[in-house]
Each structure stands twice: as structure tokens, then as C-alpha cells.
């Protein structure tokens, strides 16, 4: 065969997609006519969108089928005869990542997670976590093919680990994790990666393409479950640390100093562990500053620095402020500490101090 086949089996694919979409469309139209009664322009948009999705998906699948599938086979056969077989492992990592990166369903899920979580879990984070997981497991899958490890040796400990992690995970993360396992095995992964794997398995001696090549999908489905659950545990630890932080007692240091000293105080209190501060300008007078000009008292300009600190850091910061502003000397200013009942909006991590 020497020609280029582009539209082979396109009608079949298109028909399949229409069949998948049809029940949703029909049910929706029934609901629309009986109860929903949404505005006509809205319905028009929905129908337009569905048609776009239909044509788009057909094109996408056809492109994968005629372009990526044969390319994957050719690459797999070439790689199977490579001299340094361990090279397949990093190569599998790269291909696993890139194929998942290009998977449409993975993008849809990631976007819906960002939407539903009101942005607290970012789309990109989900994408990287899923693609990274698949990359890791494709690398593992390559090792499996090279060294002839049975599939169950990877799959069963993997799922047992996942089940164990369920105990410590939030229910929303569990649902997302298992959904991610489903979406990662889309057309790009199934067609392209499997073509590579089957190609490799059929050119390495003693490997059965059916047993060694297939089964890769099972790895792809397992990978994101484990990585998303891990992501969930990390997120959970982070929020817990943040909450503990907010629960801790805090205090407010108010320092009233001569004009121009505020910046210096802010800088040095940061070094002493404060997480920021606010400078305000004011005017005031103390016993050491009773000066008048033409009978009018002079009220020297002051700077007021507000610093919220953790109770355990207060002493250190206060000491630093006293030292910096020379508060021991008469007329230099005063500083005092007030306990704080509640703080909202302190989001810095405790091991991080501000930089100016």
C-alpha cells in the first residue's frame, strides 16, 4: 500500500458518536418541550455546541486513527530493536506524559474540577498530576515489558495502595481520583501508547504482544488514581497547617515612632519573624517634645507601624523594634502589644518571612 488513506472508516466513527450523543439529545428535547422550556436562543446554542462537538470529535478520532496509530506502531517496532533497552523507560515516561497532556477528556475533567471547586484546585495542577502519574506508570510499563514482570505484580499492589489511601482522603478527592483514572484512558493513550507498546512487545523476543502489550491501559487507569489521591493528601496537609496557624494565638504590636523610622522597623521586624506590617502616618506629642512656636504647640509627625505576629514570635519582634527605633531613649517613641482575638487573611506559611 503506497497511497495515503485519510477518510478510512470515518463514517463508522461518526455513526458511533451520533449513537452516543443521541439519547442525551432526545431526552433533553423531551424535557425541554415538557418542563424545562428554556429560551429558544439558548437551545439553539446548545444544539450548535453539540454538533460542533460531534464533528470535532469525529475529526479528532480520525486523525488519531490515521496519523498517530501507524506512527506509534512504527516507533514501537523501531524501539523494540534498540540496543540499550533501558532507554525505553525514560522514553516511556516522556510519551506517557505527552499523550495524556493531549487527551481531550482529561482537559474537560480538569476544567470541571476547577469550576466545581471554585478555583481552589487549579486546572493546571490536575492536568500535571494526571499526566505525571501516567508518565510514571508508562515508564513502569516499559520496565514490565523489558524484564517480563507479570501485570498483576504491579496492578494488585497498586490498587491495594489506592484502597489504603482511601482511608485518609476526602470524599471529593476520592471521586475525582477515580474519575481521573477513567478519563486518562482516552483515544490518544489507548491508540498511540498501545501501538507503541504492542510494537515493542512484538519485537522483543519471548514477549507476547497480547499479554505484554495490552494491559498498558490498566496501568494508565491506575496511575492518576494514585497521584490524585496523593495530591489530595498534600492539599489536606496544607489546609490543616493553615488552620492550625489561624487557631494559634496572635498579637498586634503597635509602635509609634519618629517620622522616617517606620520602614526600618518594618524591615527589621521581618527579619525577626514578622510576616509583614502596615505603616500609617500620624501626629502626636509626648512630654519630651513640648515645644511651641509663636504659642502654637508643635506636633511632630509620627509613623505608626502595625504588626500582627504569632504569640510565640511577639517577643523577638518587639525586641527588634525596640532596638531599631532606639525606644530606650527618651523621645524616640513607644511600642505596645495588644492581644488579638481573631485574624482573617494571614495566609503566609510560617516558615516564610516577608522580604522587602
Amino acid at each position: 500500500m503506497n497511497g495515503i488513506t485519510v477518510w478510512d472508516g470515518f463514517g463508522h466513527t461518526l455513526l458511533g458518536i451520533i449513537e452516543a450523543l443521541a439519547p442525551l439529545l432526545v431526552l433533553f428535547i423531551i424535557f425541554q418541550m415538557t418542563v424545562l422550556k428554556l429560551p429558544r436562543s439558548y437551545i439553539f446554542n446548545l444544539i450548535k455546541g453539540s454538533l460542533l462537538a460531534l464533528v470535532g470529535l469525529a475529526l479528532f478520532l480520525q486523525g488519531v486513527h490515521i496519523g498517530f496509530f501507524p506512527a506509534g506502531q512504527a516507533i514501537g517496532e523501531m524501539l523494540g530493536s534498540i540496543r540499550f533497552q533501558w532507554l525505553l523507560i525514560p522514553f516511556g515516561f516522556m510519551m506517557g506524559f505527552l499523550a495524556t497532556w493531549g487527551e481531550p477528556a482529561v482537559r474537560i475533567l480538569s476544567e470541571q474540577v476547577e469550576d466545581a471547586s471554585a478555583g481552589s484546585i487549579r486546572k493546571m495542577v490536575v492536568l500535571y498530576t494526571i499526566a505525571g502519574g501516567v508518565a510514571l506508570f508508562i515508564a513502569l510499563g516499559m520496565a514490565k515489558i523489558i524484564y517480563g514482570v507479570p501485570l498483576l505484580w504491579i496492578i494488585i499492589p497498586g490498587y491495594l495502595l489506592a484502597i489504603g489511601m482511601l482511608r485518609f482522603s476526602d470524599k471529593s478527592i476520592i471521586a475525582i481520583a477515580f474519575d481521573a483514572g477513567g478519563v486518562a484512558t482516552g483515544p490518544m493513550a489507548v491508540t498511540f501508547l498501545m501501538a507503541i507498546a504492542v510494537g515493542i512487545a512484538s519485537s522483543i523476543q519471548g514477549r507476547d504482544p497480547v499479554i505484554d502489550g495490552f494491559g498498558l491501559i490498566a496501568l494508565i487507569a491506575l496511575a492518576p488514581i494514585l497521584t490524585i489521591l496523593t495530591l489530595g493528601l498534600i492539599l489536606r496537609m496544607k489546609t490543616r497547617r493553615k488552620e492550625e496557624k489561624n487557631m494559634a494565638e496572635m498579637s498586634l504590636i503597635v509602635s509609634i515612632v519618629r517620622k522616617g523610622w517606620g520602614d526600618k522597623i518594618l524591615q527589621n521586624s521581618c527579619k525577626a519573624g514578622a510576616e509583614g506590617g502596615t505603616i500609617m502616618f500620624g501626629r502626636g506629642v509626648g512630654v519630651h517634645e513640648k515645644q511651641t512656636i509663636l504659642g502654637i504647640p508643635i506636633e511632630p509627625e509620627k509613623e505608626i507601624v502595625l504588626t500582627v505576629t504569632n504569640a510565640d514570635e511577639t517577643d523577638a519582634v518587639l525586641e527588634e523594634i525596640v532596638r531599631t527605633a532606639e525606644l530606650g531613649k527618651p523621645g524616640a517613641g513607644i511600642a505596645f502589644v495588644i492581644p488579638v482575638e481573631k485574624v482573617v487573611g494571614v495566609v503566609h506559611r510560617s516558615d516564610e518571612s516577608c522580604t522587602i
Binding site: 452516543a20 424545562l36 450548535k48 506512527a71 477515580f178 477513567g182 499479554i211 491501559i217 490498566a218
Partner: protein, 233 residues
Amino acid sequence: MTMRNQIRSKVLEVATAILPLVLVVVVLQFALVKMPTNLFLQFIIGAIMVITGMVLFLIGVDIGILPMGKALGAELPRRGSLPLIIGIAFLIGFAATIAEPDVIVLTNQVDMVSGGAIAKNILVYIIAIGVAFFVVMAMLRILLGFPIAYLMATGYIIIIILAFFTPVEFVPVAFDSGGVTTGPMTVPIILALGLGFSSVLAGKSAMSDGFGLIGLASIGPVIGVMVMGMVLS
């Protein structure tokens, strides 16, 4: 977002999604693989189709399928009829699966492994019923507030136990079947159904209860194919 901005952002997203993979294949082609020119040309045409198709698909899903699925999902509990919810969830799960192109590929694999001992059509229906059953379970879970961890753990423990009794050549195929059933068209439909359904129920939210349908739907076919393998041998 206006239509034009939406198209621009989707084109950009798809370009960053697909081009890295295309680039790697092109580099490999010139460095190592050296496929025949016509095959390489076919790959380039395929890549262009993939990019155009994915842009259209993602836009269409955003403006058509997701809102439609969510509207339908949100309407279901309002009818107040449990059989209706079960019926529609089953129908959507079943229909989406029998049409999924990957499932057809899978049945060919099974055909090969089992030496034609089982008719392809029957297998497709077994898988589709497996998926539909678990979509219904997932909807009921949202409604009854049953913890998803128990469902998942039970499902996978059953799978692990079955794996020891399933003939070796059926094991990879069984696990594969769980993955392939949730293809690109099924995912947005089932996803939107769950998100819309949970969004209108008091005390539930799309974030905490809306996900999980796809994950559960993947369990059914694995069990189905394993049982079939045991029956056959």
C-alpha cells in the same frame, strides 16, 4: 467570554496540548524511525485533523454538551420519581457505552484472546450493562449520601480477588475494558449528569458529590469480563 475570545483561547490550549507530542514524533522520524514518506505525510495530516477536531470538540462540549447534561441532571430530582432517575441514568450509561468506539476495539481483542468463543455483540452488551448498572449506583450514591470510599473499595477488592481466579490471558483485557469504556464522548455526558444532579440537591454540592460517576462506571466492565473469562475456561 465572547465567542471569538473563546475560540482563540481554545486554539491556544489545543496547540499547547498537541504540538509537543507532534514535535517529538517529528524529531524521532528524522533521527531514528524513518517511516516511509507517505506514512509520515499521513501522520502530519492526522495531526492537523486532531488539532482542528479537538478545538471544535472542546468548544462544542463547553457550549453544548456540558450545559445540556447539567440541565438534564438538575431536572431529574425535581420530578421526584426514583424509577425515572434510575431509568434515565441506565439508559444514558448504556447507550453511551455501546456506541463508544474504543469498546468496539476492545471486543475485537477479546475475540482474539478467546478464539471467538463469545459473540462480539453479546460482549458489548455485557460491558454496556456493567457500565449502566454502575452509573445508576453512582446516582443513587449521590442521592443517599453513601460514602464513595466504600463503593470503590468494595468494587476493587472484588476485582483483586477475582483476578486470582481469572485465566491469565483475560486479566489484561479485563483491566483494559474498565479504562476504554469511558471515552471522550461518554466522559462529558456522564460528568455533566452527575454535576447537574448534585448541584440541586440540598446539602450536596457539585464539588463534594458530583464527581465519581466515571470512576464507578469503570468498575463494571472489569468484573464483567473477568467473570466471563472464568465461565469460558
